[in-house]
């Protein structure tokens, strides 16, 4: 296929945690709200002059200092983020908002606070920690509303004078929805039999929407969508269509590696992927916007830490439905090494998707930076693709409807 016009532009943005668009946003007078978990309602971080920047640590190499502070038993993303913070990589942040979602990420941010890695020269700088709902009940919505009020809205207003009115929230949601609609529309091309976008390209675009000030990439996303409408797909058949599920994938190299083995990553269901993170928020006029935003996040949340049975089994159902919608031949459940929530979710998910829903599943753990063990991952994926391919050949080359 012809290269996407802005792909290199987006790829370059993902090479640094503190990239050119963040500098531009600061020059525009924006308040950079750093965050670490997809359970934090993103539109609330984009109110008025605020703009959300998800913390990542591209090209992570040595994490020795962070390992001293947190030992080598914590997940690599949490250590990579702490290392980058110690190196001064997040000096752009005007505040950090993090939930007590997974313990390790919480500890990473607490270490950042104790080590004063950010905000020394910023009088309004603050760290906020939130409680995140465990279930999808109205009681949890009430908890979420209170937490967002106390730990996002009030500090943003008090420290930076951010407009936190209902109207401001509605505007932020509208802007958020525009990004979601673009990403969803781009992602829908992956449903095609001969898709006109690769899983890798989509991952780059989707990840950019989390780590960049969204208002600065909107035009290029729109242009990319237009470009895709007329893009000629390659006349080649993929060996297998796979759905990628699991913990955060900040290294697009993982998706590239999977696709280099002849698979096509037809859909993504991981932390900071397009499902459920880029599902538009539908607001009505009968209820305040904050409550509706919180309810949206709780109802749509697919985080493993949601513990009621409706959610536990619903997550597997959700993956199965995505696999069906995107015509996946198999599912890859992946987990960053030492991630407790996804360790259990991957185990149960892999068992249920295989036994109850009949999908071939590859269940695998991996490092944060895939390049550091690409050989092992490549072998696992190759074997998985071959196993799917053999089954497909046995069915006469047809996709199996489940």
């Amino acid at each position: 296929m012809r290269d996407l016009k802005h792909l290199i532009y987006f790829e370059n943005l993902l090479q640094e945690a503190n990239h050119a668009l963040i500098a531009q946003a600061r020059a525009d007078g924006k308040v950079c709200v750093a965050y670490t978990c997809e359970n934090v309602p993103e539109p609330l971080l984009n109110l008025d002059r605020a703009c959300s920047i998800r913390l990542t640590a591209p090209h992570t190499g040595s994490i020795d200092i962070a390992t001293y502070y947190m030992t080598n038993l914590l997940c690599e993303p949490s250590r990579a983020l702490l290392e980058r913070a110690i190196e001064g990589g997040y000096s752009f942040a005007d505040c950090v908002i993090t939930p007590d979602g997974c313990t390790m990420m919480n500890r990473a941010v607490e270490n950042m606070e104790l080590l004063q890695t950010m905000g020394k020269d910023k009088p309004g700088f603050f760290h906020e920690y939130m409680e995140i709902a465990f279930k999808n009940t109205e009681s949890d919505v009430a908890l979420s509303v209170l937490q967002c009020t106390n730990h996002i809205l009030t500090p943003l207003h008090d420290n930076y004078g951010i407009d936190i009115s209902d109207a401001a929230i509605r505007k932020a949601v509208a802007d958020h929805n525009r990004i979601c609609e673009l990403i969803r529309a781009i992602g829908d091309f992956r449903k095609e039999e001969k898709p006109r976008i690769t899983g890798y390209e989509f991952h780059v675009l989707c990840l950019a929407t989390y780590v960049c000030p969204q208002y600065l990439i909107l035009d290029k996303l729109e242009e990319t969508l237009e470009e895709l409408k007329t893009r000629e797909p390659d006349d080649k058949a993929y060996r297998a269509r796979v759905l990628l599920v699991g913990s955060e994938v900040d290294d697009s190299g993982l998706v590239k590696l999977i696709e280099e083995q002849g698979a096509f990553v037809c859909c993504d269901r991981f932390c900071f992927g397009s499902y459920p993170g880029r599902v538009p928020i539908v607001l009505n006029d009968g209820e305040d916007a904050l409550t509706q935003v919180c309810r949206h996040y709780i109802r749509n949340c697919q985080c493993p830490r949601m513990m009621n049975q409706e959610k536990v089994y619903g997550r597997k159902q959700y993956v199965a439905e995505l696999a069906r919608e995107y015509k996946a031949d198999g599912i890859i459940y992946q987990q960053v090494k030492f991630c407790d929530p996804w360790a259990y979710e991957r185990t149960l998910g892999a068992a249920m998707l295989q036994n109850d829903y009949g999908y071939p599943v590859l269940s695998v753990d991996r490092p944060y930076n895939v390049a550091s063990s690409s050989g092992q991952m490549r072998t696992r994926v190759q074997a998985f693709v071959e196993s799917i391919e053999i089954k497909k050949i046995q069915r006469g080359g047809k996709h199996e409807d489940r």
Partner: protein
């Protein structure tokens, strides 16, 4: 560095410097009983006989014999007498009586709990009427939500107590099998082995099938929260037990989570009412609340004694008794009240007599983190071998607030908040979660309060909440002049760190950093790696 005054025992204790000689590497149990002088050896032996009578009364019931052969974890039953000796190493006088009073009571309580499990078990006793009034709680749960149910009408079954806690304490290899099962199923080996073992028990279907419903909890960590899914799959989908997930906020020091936590308690109570058909009784609740407050006062008094130069109630018995009383009991059993007061009276008597439990106390130590179940005698060993007195451990540093105990309309609403507070501040999670202040800052406050010059830091290698603050502990301890001694282990898997590997970390620190010689060299290396 901070130093404390060395306290030397003016009295030579009978049988001192003998404990190391009672181990024999060819045996899986000790070669002989410890000599403690005529009076204490006789007392110890009579308590041992009492224990045998408890175990004997249990096993003569036919359904218990059936259960014994059905469930793998019941193997630990055989090693209870040997296990009890782990709690009395080197103890004499009041401390010996405290250890027996507290832990024999705990053993009797656990034995009764197992008997209850077998009574209702569809595979063993199959007493359906009884089973229909049982509520299963899982994994390290706090049972405050049961405080208002009459214990004669509704029975609480803590499924992890016999399968994991007691099992691993009495037989160090007993849990490994369930870890292997869980890992065979696909759970990685780097998660906390406690919920992993419990998940393994469910995967292997090796727990009694009983109860009318179950209540799960996100007790201590991400692993504990996540293990619920696998366990609920067995309970709900296969046994048909309706299962409620009691969500407990992690940031328990923040006032803005309390209402949510209280709503969850209300939901849990309503769930139990619905499935047991029994009603919440406020008289029962406030009676239990009085007992909770009484236990809190006794615990505070014990801690005060331990902050003096002559601590009395310490080590594993202190920790496990508190654990059982605070979490498993939560004021529901009246028998604990008498025990609490008896234990306090013994401790006061020992303090007034300035009783010491080693030749000398060189260091006053706070034990932080989570102890390995299979090396439960470690703290007694530490004081006997090196003169390091464990003043308290993290698991015993729990709630000190009084809860509402008078039945008024306002207090009924307050009661939900009190139960929620206790539930949020259950053992372990009250320090490992809720922000770094409760884990790090509170440790230094405790060092001040108890005049400690040393911290023994259990580094349970799968406890990410604790290891995530490793560097902060190091740096802040250095800044405060507190000795910090890291001791790694893997909670209930002796394959990762054997008992001697655990002790060797202390040996190395004491010899190389503090340049000290052991009080009792016979204890420095003990051939008990293969012992039960």
């Amino acid at each position: 560095m901070k130093t404390v005054e060395k306290v030397v025992n003016p009295v030579r204790r009978a049988g001192e410097q003998s404990p190391g000689k009672i181990y024999n590497e060819k045996l899986k149990v000790r070669a002989r009983r410890e000599w403690r002088g005529v009076r204490d050896t006789f007392y110890d032996y009579t308590r041992w006989l009492y224990l045998m009578s408890v175990l004997g009364r249990f096993i003569v019931v036919p359904r218990n014999i059936k259960g014994f052969f059905r469930y793998r974890w019941m193997m630990s039953y055989l090693f209870v007498p040997h296990g009890m000796d782990k709690f009395t190493i080197g103890l004499r006088d009041e401390a010996l009586r405290i250890a027996h009073t507290s832990f024999n009571f705990v053993i009797a309580d656990v034995t009764q709990a197992i008997a209850n499990c077998f009574r209702g078990d569809r595979r063993v006793g199959n007493d359906k009427a009884y089973s229909d009034k049982c509520v299963i709680t899982d994994e390290n749960s706090m049972v405050t939500f049961m405080m208002g149910f009459d214990t004669d009408k509704v029975h609480t079954i803590l499924r992890e107590v016999p399968t994991m806690f007691a099992s691993n304490i009495f037989h160090q290899f007993n849990v490994m099998h369930y870890l292997d099962i869980a890992q065979q199923y696909g759970i990685p080996g780097d998660v906390c082995p406690m919920p992993e073992a419990e998940a393994g028990i469910s995967i292997e279907d090796d727990f009694c099938v009983l109860g009318c419903c179950a209540v799960q909890n996100n007790t201590t960590c991400d692993g504990s929260l996540m293990g619920n899914g696998i366990i609920a799959k067995r309970l709900e989908r296969e046994y048909g037990l309706p299962t409620f997930q009691l969500a407990t906020p992690l940031r328990h020091k923040e006032p803005d989570v309390l209402d949510y936590a209280a709503r969850e308690i209300k939901e849990a109570i309503a769930f139990v009412e619905k499935h047991t058909g029994e009603k919440w009784d406020w008289d029962v609740y406030f009676t239990a609340a009085k007992r909770v407050n009484d236990a809190t006062r006794c615990r505070i008094a014990q801690m005060e004694i331990n902050s003096t130069p002559y601590p009395q109630f310490f080590g594993a018995a202190f920790s496990l008794y508190n654990d059982t009383n605070y979490m498993g009991n939560s004021g529901r059993n009246a028998d604990f009240v008498a025990k609490d007061h008896k234990l306090l009276a013994l401790a006061q008597k020992g303090y007034e007599a300035k009783r010491m439990y080693a030749r000398e106390y060189r260091h006053r130590c706070i034990v932080w983190g989570v102890q390995p179940q299979y090396c439960i005698d470690m703290l007694y060993w530490m004081v006997q071998c090196w003169g390091v007195m464990p003043l308290t451990d993290m698991l015993s540093v729990i709630n000190t607030e009084m809860i509402a105990e008078v039945d008024t309309p306002e207090n009924r609403e307050q009661a939900y908040r009190d139960m929620a507070m206790l539930n949020m501040e259950m053992i372990m999670r009250n320090h490992t979660h809720g922000g770094y202040k409760v884990l790090v800052d509170e440790l230094w406050e405790l060092c001040e309060q108890m005049n400690a010059d040393m911290v023994m830091m259990w580094e349970h290698m799968s406890c990410k909440a604790l290891t995530g603050m490793h560097g902060q502990f190091e740096e802040q301890a250095r800044a405060r002049g507190i000795h910090i001694m890291w001791v790694s282990h893997d909670l209930c898997d002796p394959r990762v760190f054997t008992r001697q590997a655990i002790r060797d970390q202390v040996n190395s620190y004491m010899r190389t950093v503090l340049r000290e010689e052991p009080l009792d060299p016979s204890l420095e290396i003990i051939p008990d790696n293969e012992a039960y």
